[in-house]
Symmetry: C2
C-alpha cells in the first residue's frame, strides 16, 4: 500500500471532515467543505486544486482522446458525445465485456469488506477530494454534456454534487457503525453461571452496484448512489447516459486512481460506456451479479427496473409534476421574482422545477392589493421577461436545451393552451449552435376537465402552466391528486393564512412531498442543500428514495454476526 | 384523553425502558425487561400481571366465546381453530369488510402522525406492558395454536416476542429522531446577508401496514413488523394464520384498548380474520391502501408478495436450509448434546433449526479421539435418544406437530435415505390427541449427486440429514451453494482450526448468513436474543429483512420537510 494513502494518513486528512459531515446530518444546519465560488480554486484554494485556466486546459486536453481506464474486459472503444453548445467532444471510452468485468469487480470485494466502514469512508473522502480539486475541469465536462450554463455546471456539478456524495458517505458510515464491531453478551442464569457469548458484527456489501446516470445532472444525481454503495462495501459499475459520459468517466478515473494508491483493487469502480443504441442498461440491470441499482430518468424505465430487476435493490428518481399553490402573499414582488428565477433556471430542465402554478380564478390578496388571475399571470410573465431580457444574463441562467426532445416539447407546448409568455431564442456569443430558449408560460383552465388536463402529466423542460382554479381548496385538491398520481419532487405555496399553511402541510404529509413555503428571497424551490434538505421524499411516484436518509443506505449492506461461546 | 395515559404519565412510566432499549441496540449486550420465568408473573411480578392460575383462567374464559373487538366494517364472525393438542378453541372473531375497515384505519393516521415519534413509541411500550402482564394467558394461546410445549410457548411467545417488539420500537424511534424536528439553516453570502431558512422535519407513515402471521410463532414473528409499523406512524391490519388467530387477536384487543385510553383512534390496529379457504391475504396484499407488508411463511407466497404487491414495502421471512459444518471439536460431548437439543426443540419446527449436518466421510478429530462419519452419526443419534428418552422431558421439549403437513413430511422422510434414528410417537399425559413425535435423522451421501439432493431443499419439521461429504472444503462448497440457492436463517460450525473458522466466515460473509461457532453449552444455534442477535440477514433467499436493524424500519416512514424563509 502506498505510504501516502495509508489508513493513518487518510484518517489524519479526512477524519475531521467525516466528523463534521456526521454532525451536519444530525443538526441539518448549513455546512459544506466544498467552496462554491470558481475563484476559490487553484492557488490558495483546496490542496492541488486546478484554477480556472488550468481546469479549462485540462478539459481541452481530454477532448479528442481515448480515455483508457485500464479496465479488464475492454473489448473496444466507443464515444460520440456532442455538446448541447455545439462542439463534438471526441472522447473515446472503453467498452466492457461484462462477462470479464463483473467477475473482476466481485473479486475486489473481499479486501474492501475487510477494510471496514471507517477506511472505506476515508477512501471515499479522498476520492471526493480529488474530484473537488478538479472541479473546474469537471464543470466544463458537465456544461458540455448537460447544457447547463458554466456557473451552474460549476456549482451544481461540482461542490453541490460533491456535498451530496459526502452526505451519502456520512450516512453509510453512520449506518454501518450503529452496530458495534464486537459485543460480549452475558445472560444471567440465576444461581448457575451466566451464558456467555463473544460476538462480532460485520457489514457486508451485497454485490455489484449499477449506477445508471442521467443526462442533465450526471454528477449531482450520480454521486449519492455511487458513494453510498462504495462506502457500504459494494463495487460500483457506472453506466453513464450516452450523452453525458465524460463527467462520470473522469470520476471513475479518479476513483480508480485513489483505490489503487490506497492498496485496493481499482476494479471496485468501473465504467460501462455503451455503443450507440446498444441499450446496455437493460441487459446489465438483469445480470445476477447486480444487487443494487441507482437510476435517474424516465418513469417508464424506472418502473421497468423496479418491476424486473428483482434480484437488486432499486433506487429510482423518475418523472414528477411539481406544483406551486398561490393563495395570498405579503411580498408580491418577492414572490414574482422568486418564481421567475425558479421557472427559468437551466430552462426548467430540473426535476425540481415547478410546472403547475395553481391560481384561484378570482385572484389573490397581496401586499400590493388584490390581484386577479390575469394580473398574476401577467406579472409572472413580466418578471420572467425582465429577468431574461438581457441576453448575457439569460445565457448565464438558462443554459442550452439538453437534447432535441426538450426542444420538441417546447415547440409543441404552445398548442396546449393560451400562451401567456412565448419562448424566445437567445443567441449565445460563444456557441452559435447552442439552442438557448426562454421558458414558455401557458394558461390552462383547471376548472374545465379537458382544459386542465395538460397539467396532469410531466412536460419536462421550459414549459410551465398557470392553472386557473376555483379556489384555494380546489388548488389543494388538485395538488393532492397531482402528487398521488404523478408524483412530485417539490411543492411550493404562498399564503399569509395559517389555516391554508396547515392545509397545504397536511396534503404534503398525506402524500409525502417536500414543501417550501413563501420563498421570496434568494432560496428557490428547485434547490436543495445537502446535509440539510431532502431531495424528494421517496414516498410518492416521483422517486422511491430520498437523498439522503437512512433508507437510502441501510439496505445496501447487511450485517453478518459471528458468535462464539466465550 | 384519559388522565392515566397522558403523554406525561406514559413518559414517566416508559421513557426509562425506551432509553435502556436504545442503549441495548447500540451495545448489543444482554438486556431484557421481560422476565423469562413463569413464576415471575402475578403477585410481586410486573404491575397488574396475571399469575399462572389467573392466566390459565383468563385463557379458559375466552374459549368458546365471540371476541368482539368493536371494529368498523364487521360483516360476520369466523373461527374454527383446533389446538395441535386436540381441543377445539371455539373462539369467534370479527370478519371485516375491507372497504369499510381500511378507510377507517386511514382516517386514524392524522392524529397518530401528529403525536410524533416519542409519544408513538411510548404508546407502543404501554401496549407491550399490557401484553407482558398477560403473558400466562398468551402462553396458553400460543401453545394451543402453534403446538409449542408450554414453557417454550411462554418464553418464545411471551418475553422473547415482547423483546423483539420492543427492539423494533427502539429502532423505529432512533430512526425517526436521527433527523431533528427543526433546524435553522443559514448560508453565508460573503458581504451580503446570509440566506436563512427555518426548517421542520416530519416523520410520516406510508399507509396501512399488513401483518400476515404465521402458524408456528404468531407473536415472535409478528410483533417486530407490527410494532415497527405502528411506531413509525402506520395503522396495522393483522391477518393471522387461520390456525393461529387467538394470540394475535388478543394482541389486537390490547392494542386497541391502549390506543383508545391514550386518546388515539383504536382503528390504528385491527384484525382481519378470514373464513375457511377465503385466502384474504392475497386480496388484501394488492389493495392500494396497503403500503407495507410483513410476512412469515412459505417461499412460494413470499415470492408472490414480493413480485406482485408492488405498491407496498414487503418484508418477508421464507423457507431456508440451515447447515452445520462439523470439521473438528475439542468438546465432542458438548457438541453432541448441543446439537441434540437444537434438532429436538419444538420438533425442529423452527425456521432456525439445523437441517443438514455436513460431516467429512473420513471423520473428524475430537478431544476423545478420531471419530468416523458413522461414529458421529451414531453419537448424535445417541445423544438425541438420551435427551428424549423420558416422555415427560420429551413432551416438554418437542411440543406437538403444528399441522398435518409436518406429520406427512416426517412420515415420508424415511424414504429419503438410510434412517440413522427413527422417529417415535410420544404419549402426552394431558392431551391424548396430540401428535408428539421425536425427530428423524437420515443419512445422505453428499458425494453422490443423487444421494445428496434431498438436503438441497427445505424439509420443514423434525427431519435432519447427516450428510457425508468428501472433506471440509467440500462441506464449505455445499454450504455456499445451499445458502445461495436455498437461503439460510442460521449456519453453525464446529472446528478447532483457525483457518477453517476463517473459511466458514468468508462463506457466510460472501453469502450473507448468520454464523454460530463451536456452540457446546446452553446457547443453541436456533435461538437468537433480541437487542443483540440478528434473526436472519436479509441478504440471502431465506429472508429479505433481518430482525431488527435500520433497514427493517427506515423505509416504513418518510421524512417530509417544510421550509420557510426565516
Amino acid at each position: 500500500m502506498a505510504a501516502e494513502l495509508s489508513p493513518e494518513k487518510l484518517s489524519e486528512t479526512h477524519r475531521p471532515t467525516l466528523d463534521q459531515a456526521l454532525d451536519a446530518i444530525r443538526t441539518r444546519a448549513y455546512w459544506s467543505p466544498h467552496p462554491e465560488h470558481p475563484k476559490a480554486y487553484g492557488e490558495g484554494g483546496p490542496a492541488g486544486s486546478l484554477g480556472a485556466a488550468e481546469g479549462k486546459a485540462a478539459f481541452d486536453a481530454v477532448l479528442n482522446t481515448r480515455l483508457d481506464l485500464g479496465q479488464p474486459g475492454t473489448d473496444g472503444w466507443t464515444g460520440g458525445e456532442v455538446s448541447p453548445y455545439g462542439p463534438k467532444l471526441g472522447v473515446e471510452y472503453p467498452h466492457a465485456d461484462p462477462d470479464v468485468l463483473l467477475p473482476a469487480m466481485i473479486a475486489a470485494m473481499g479486501g474492501w469488506r475487510a477494510a471496514g466502514p471507517e477506511t472505506r469512508a476515508l477512501v471515499c473522502l479522498e476520492i471526493l477530494a480529488r474530484i473537488s480539486a478538479r472541479t473546474h475541469e469537471l464543470a466544463h465536462a458537465v456544461m458540455h454534456t448537460s447544457g447547463q450554463a458554466f456557473v451552474m455546471a460549476f456549482q451544481a456539478g461540482g461542490p453541490h454534487a460533491q456535498d451530496r456524495g459526502l452526505e451519502a458517505v456520512a450516512y453509510a458510515y453512520a449506518e454501518q457503525t450503529r452496530t458495534p464491531h464486537t459485543a460480549d453478551w452475558s445472560k444471567p442464569q440465576g444461581k448457575r453461571d451466566p451464558l456467555r457469548l463473544h460476538k462480532t458484527y460485520h457489514a457486508v456489501g451485497r454485490g455489484v452496484s449499477l449506477l445508471i446516470g442521467c443526462n442533465t445532472f450526471p454528477t449531482w444525481n450520480g454521486y449519492p448512489g455511487l458513494f453510498a454503495s462504495l462506502a457500504t462495501g459494494n463495487p460500483v459499475l457506472v453506466k453513464p447516459h450516452p450523452r453525458a459520459v465524460l463527467p462520470l468517466a473522469l470520476t471513475v478515473q479518479l476513483a480508480r486512481e485513489v483505490l489503487a494508491e490506497a492498496g485496493f483493487d481499482p476494479n471496485l469502480v468501473a465504467l460501462a460506456a455503451e455503443r450507440p443504441g446498444e441499450g446496455i442498461a437493460k441487459t446489465l440491470a438483469l445480470r445476477p451479479e447486480i444487487k443494487i441499482i441507482d437510476y435517474t430518468g424516465s418513469t417508464a424505465f424506472g418502473d421497468w427496473l423496479e418491476a424486473n430487476a428483482r434480484q437488486a435493490q432499486v433506487y429510482t428518481e423518475k418523472a414528477g409534476v411539481n406544483t406551486i399553490v398561490i393563495d395570498s402573499t405579503d411580498d408580491y414582488r418577492g414572490m414574482l421574482s422568486n418564481l421567475a428565477f425558479s421557472l427559468s433556471l437551466y430552462s426548467g430542465q430540473m426535476c425540481t422545477t415547478p410546472q403547475n402554478l395553481l391560481i384561484p380564478r378570482d385572484g389573490v390578496p397581496t401586499d400590493t392589493g388584490h390581484k386577479t388571475y390575469e394580473d398574476v399571470v401577467t406579472d409572472i410573465a413580466g418578471a420572467m421577461t425582465g429577468l431574461l431580457d438581457d441576453d448575457a444574463r439569460a445565457n448565464g441562467l438558462l443554459g442550452a436545451l439538453v437534447n432535441p426532445d426538450v426542444r420538441a416539447r417546447l415547440d409543441q407546448a404552445a398548442g396546449l393552451g393560451e400562451v401567456a409568455l412565448p419562448s424566445r431564442q437567445v443567441a449565445h456569443p460563444d456557441f452559435p449552435e447552442a439552442v438557448v430558449r426562454t421558458p414558455v408560460l401557458i394558461k390552462l383552465d383547471g376548472t374545465d376537465p379537458d382544459g386542465g388536463s395538460a397539467c396532469l402529466s410531466e412536460c419536462f423542460g421550459p414549459v410551465s402552466f398557470a392553472v386557473a382554479v376555483e379556489s384555494t381548496t380546489a388548488a389543494l385538491d388538485l395538488l393532492r391528486r397531482t402528487i398521488r398520481e404523478q408524483g412530485a419532487m417539490t411543492v411550493g405555496a404562498y399564503t399569509t393564512s395559517p389555516e391554508v399553511e396547515r392545509a397545504v402541510e397536511d396534503v404534503c404529509f398525506d402524500e409525502s412531498a417536500q414543501l417550501s413555503l413563501n420563498l421570496t428571497g434568494g432560496v428557490y424551490v428547485n434547490q436543495t442543500a445537502a446535509f440539510s434538505d431532502f431531495h424528494g421524499s421517496g414516498g410518492n411516484p416521483a422517486a422511491n428514495a430520498a437523498l439522503c436518509d437512512g433508507a437510502f443506505v441501510s439496505n445496501r449492506f447487511r450485517v453478518v454476526e459471528v458468535r462464539r461461546q466465550a
